[in-house]
């Protein structure tokens, strides 16, 4: 018997038992698809968490005035000394470090924003042009703060979406003069981004040059300085440089705290590890369920065909040939089932992504390999084992089963 006719015989056996073949394919496909959809959900959750933190900027350092106790105790600092404020000069000095790419000084306050008799309370952030890149924001229209000296107080502002909607409604906001406190600022841009930043909803914010904010809130100090390191690898160097610079400028007092995203990420690494483990658990359970499902279907299917195996032997098929027929049959079935399952799984994860765009529910490649592998392996194994048993029987016995 040639390999071609073995294949044809197996193929026609599958076509011959249409209902049974359909059920086996269904069992396989459901098993494989379940693994894929479940792991894509888990993977989606994992990626979502990673993405949320990555959008904060992984190279980001946040400089706060004052020594945080959690950063460790040093006998030369603390002990009743009042921390020095961070100033614009401090911020500019940081830029002289090679490990630092950009800085964005931050000043925050709330004030009333007025336009044509309409008024609302708004959070005002004073900063510079680099804030846009440091925070990975997008503009909806207009442009962000212009590049200029940090000490220059230009009366321009950029507003968040909610501010635009509530104060201007259908009116054009760009170019209008917005009154903040006692000063007037020309609106030069609207921010498209959503989400929160340093505890403030971007959509609810008005951004003005840092010098203007200092004048508006009548303060010479800064709330924070955001520092972007040149690369992820230089984050630690940048942290040291920042501390050294400030220390030098503050008469040797290390009175700032530098928070790196790394330390945040380290905390969330633990969350991620838990998520990954949960994902592995989900995958393992669904793989096991799929395997057992396929095993059962195959065991029943082959034991129903003992008589056929007996007949094939009587007609002159050796044991090896019979095994080859069943192996071929199981391989076709398992591969097709796995492929259908892959298609259903892809469709399922696509639907999840379409329904919940925030959740990047992509099937991890190892889940695809694992699910297909388990399907084909259990499919083949659990058709070969009973077929082998049946082929080992005397044809007489096999034929007597009707």
């Amino acid at each position: 018997m040639s390999y071609g006719s073995t294949f044809m015989f197996a193929y026609r056996a599958l076509l011959g038992f249409r209902t049974r073949t359909a059920f086996m394919l269904l069992a396989m496909a459901i098993g494989v698809a379940a693994v894929m959809v479940l792991t894509s959900l888990g993977e989606g959750a994992r990626r979502y968490v990673i993405g949320e933190f990555a959008s904060l900027g992984t190279n980001l350092l946040i400089v706060l005035p004052g020594r945080s106790e959690t950063a460790g105790f040093s006998p030369t600092s603390g002990l009743g000394t009042i921390p020095r404020d961070l100033t614009l000069e401090d911020a500019e000095a940081l830029l002289r470090n090679r490990s630092v790419r950009r800085i964005a000084p931050i000043n925050v306050g709330t004030t009333a924003a007025k336009w044509q008799g309409k008024e609302r309370e708004a959070t005002v952030i004073g900063s510079n042009a680099d804030l846009l890149e440091v925070r990975h924001w997008e503009m909806a229209s207009g442009r962000f703060l212009p590049r200029m000296e940090l000490t220059q107080a230009t009366p321009v502002c950029v507003i968040g979406q909610n501010i635009r909607r509530e104060l201007f409604r259908a009116n054009k906001a760009l170019g209008e003069w917005l009154r903040l406190g006692e000063r007037r600022f020309r609106i030069i841009g609207v921010i498209a981004s959503e989400g929160r930043s340093i505890g403030v909803d971007v959509q609810e914010t008005i951004i003005i040059p840092v010098a203007s904010a200092q004048a508006l809130f009548n303060t010479p100090s800064l709330f924070r300085i955001l520092v972007e390191a040149r690369s992820r690898a230089t984050v630690q160097t940048a942290k040291r440089d920042v501390i050294d610079t400030i220390k030098r400028r503050h008469q040797g007092e290390e009175d700032v705290t530098v928070i790196t995203q790394d330390s945040i990420l380290k905390t969330f690494d633990r969350i991620l590890r838990a998520l990954t483990l949960a994902l592995a658990g989900i995958a393992a359970v669904s793989l096991a369920v799929a395997g057992i499902l396929i095993m059962n279907v195959m065991l029943v299917a082959v034991s129903q065909r003992t008589a056929e195996i007996g007949l094939l032997k009587a007609l002159g098929a050796a044991r090896r040939r019979i095994l080859l027929v069943f192996l071929t049959e199981a391989s076709i079935l398992s591969l097709m089932g796995a492929l259908i399952g892959l298609a259903i799984g892809q469709l399922g994860s696509w639907l999840i992504r379409a329904r919940f765009p925030d959740l990047p529910a992509y099937i991890p490649y190892w889940a695809v390999l694992g699910a297909m592998g388990i399907a084909v392996l259990t499919g083949v194994l659990f058709s070969i084992l009973p077929a082998n048993k049946a082929a080992g029987k005397d044809p007489v016995q096999a034929l007597s089963r009707r």
Partner: protein, 227 residues
């Protein structure tokens, strides 16, 4: 004339619980080429076991079996399968056709197993379809055929490899009288073309048609008469 089948001191024991049942007890039998033999006897007398042994579907516990002058009882499983394929045709009481295949494909099966090329297969199947008068029904599946027609397909399948021996185990057992007679006539016509025909039955009338009668009782040959 040389015996096509030669059984010497064949013993076939089955273990049933802790008892040993002698299904065949020291059977010696010689069958010449072209003979028409009926094997009769009460159920449990060992006639089916004898047939299975001759058909290499079963192995003797002890004793020797020569087919066409060649010792086949000690052949490997693979070689026995080959002998079954080339030299022996089976006809069963319950037909044993594959339900999913058409009559044509069922008949073709031994050729497929033998590795005969597709073109040659088609023409040979058409030949035996003609010989068994089943050309019209070639594309029907077993469940669309009557019992008699199914057995014709089974006989066509048994003859496709041009075997030297046809073993028929109660071939009319599941058929009404008329189609049963029909089937026996077909088998007998094969015998007149030189194929050795061994027929197991407990229908005495049917058994009498053969030229040589073997009666088995308790695993042994009790009577062996020729017309």
């Amino acid at each position: 004339m040389v015996d096509i089948i030669q059984l010497s001191h064949i013993q076939r024991d089955f273990e049933v619980g802790d008892q040993t049942v002698h299904a065949l007890n020291d059977v010696c039998l010689g069958i010449s080429s072209g003979e028409y033999i009926s094997v009769m006897g009460p159920s449990g007398s060992g006639k089916s076991t004898l047939l299975n042994l001759i058909g290499l579907l079963d192995r003797p516990t002890s004793g020797d079996y020569f087919l066409n002058g060649k010792r086949v009882s000690t052949l490997s499983e693979r070689e026995q399968a080959r002998v079954r394929n080339r030299s022996i045709g089976f006809v069963f009481q319950t037909f044993h056709l594959l339900a999913r295949l058409t009559a044509f494909d069922n008949i073709e099966l031994p050729l497929v197993l033998a590795g005969v090329r597709p073109v040659e297969r088609k023409s040979r199947v058409r030949e035996v379809l003609q010989a068994t008068n089943m050309s019209e029904r070639a594309c029907h599946k077993p469940q669309q055929l009557s019992g008699g027609e199914r057995q014709r397909v089974a006989i066509a399948r048994a003859t496709i490899m041009q075997p030297s021996v046809i073993l028929a185990d109660e071939p009319t057992g599941n058929l009404d009288r008329r189609s049963g007679l029909d089937i026996v006539t077909l088998l007998e016509s094969l015998n007149t073309k030189g194929i050795t025909l061994i027929l197991v039955t407990h229908d005495t009338e049917l058994g009498k048609r053969a030229r040589r009668h073997i009666v088995m009782v308790d695993g042994g040959i009790k009577l062996d008469t020729r017309k």
